[in-house]
Symmetry: C2
Subunit: 154 residues, 2 copies
DNA sequence: CCTCGTACTTGATTGATTCCAGAAAGTAGT
DNA sequence: ACTACTTTCTGGAATCAATCAAGTACGAGG
């Protein structure tokens, strides 16, 4: 976990002023990967009670533009942010509970960048989202199914 | 292009009642792939002037649940719908103008389903979005760059 | 310490989507 | 074709994330 001085260095390195809201947002995003804006606002206010939601929105946009955080928005979900940037990794989303986990690229560094027919587009990024069930929901589903079967069977 | 009777058959096949709004929405989605809800509402009203936006939302949800249309929502865009379902194809989105085009799978039928480390998730679908510039915007950018260079050079 | 310019606060607003209750239309059996 | 029953549609209002606007406060450099 990076320290406050690390965050300050990151901000200065991106030509951004070091302000308390910005450090607090960076901290929150590092502490809770894949958190949505509301959760981030709540987390930020634990450190700094008087931050407006507008400030958090602004800071998140600035950090995203600077490349310090990455914005992800799976279908059906609000915007979420993560601090892991620079590497080309993807995400797996649980259809049941919505939890998100990181998935490293299966093939090489910038995978899938080769569409079979690119329609003349100049492609510079491929974004992959895997959909499925997380281990917890798989277990819950199996348990429910077993329980249902037991009840129906009895 | 399927006919009205085709749409009626599709609806009946999905255990959905055949109503004029539903046929109109199906027609609109087939006519304009990747259209957003507003465009669909407008297109539907060309055929059937008195349809409420609520009806279109409801119908789109019912059709999506029935698998007759597919909902796609690239980051930063509102929900869009397309009629091409059943095959596993992906999309390429222009960063400049937002236009969406279809891209067939590069590898096999259900590609990329093999994440390098699936974190214990039970994955059932991989969704790929390619980002880049469409041919039109590439040309516009080149033209602008050339013009800028000419001006700067002169 | 002081000034400048950017960042933050407050309050209002937009825009897509959903909820609700009553009205209307579709479907099945006779 | 008629009646009963079910599902959908209508119109208005509510919700929620996100953005806009104007004024104030704070960080950086001198």
């Amino acid at each position: 976990m990076p320290t406050v001085s690390d965050f300050e260095r990151m901000l200065r390195g991106a030509d951004l002023r070091v302000t308390r809201p910005r450090v607090a947002v960076l901290t929150a995003v590092h502490q809770r990967p894949h958190a949505d804006t509301d959760s981030i606002i709540a987390a930020v206010r634990e450190h700094l009670a008087t931050v407006s939601h507008q400030a958090v929105y602004d800071v998140l946009r600035a950090l995203t533009a600077a490349g310090l955080v990455r914005r992800i928005e799976p279908s059906g979900s609000v915007a979420r942010y993560e601090a892991r940037v620079g590497d080309n990794h993807h995400h797996v989303v649980c259809r049941s509970c919505g939890i998100i986990a990181d998935v490293d690229c299966a093939v090489g560094e910038t995978p899938c960048l080769t569409a079979s027919n690119d329609q003349g587009f100049r492609i510079d990024e491929a974004e992959v989202v895997y959909w499925g069930l997380c281990p917890v929901c798989v277990a819950a589903t199996s348990a429910t199914a077993a329980a249902t079967a037991a009840v129906e069977g009895g």
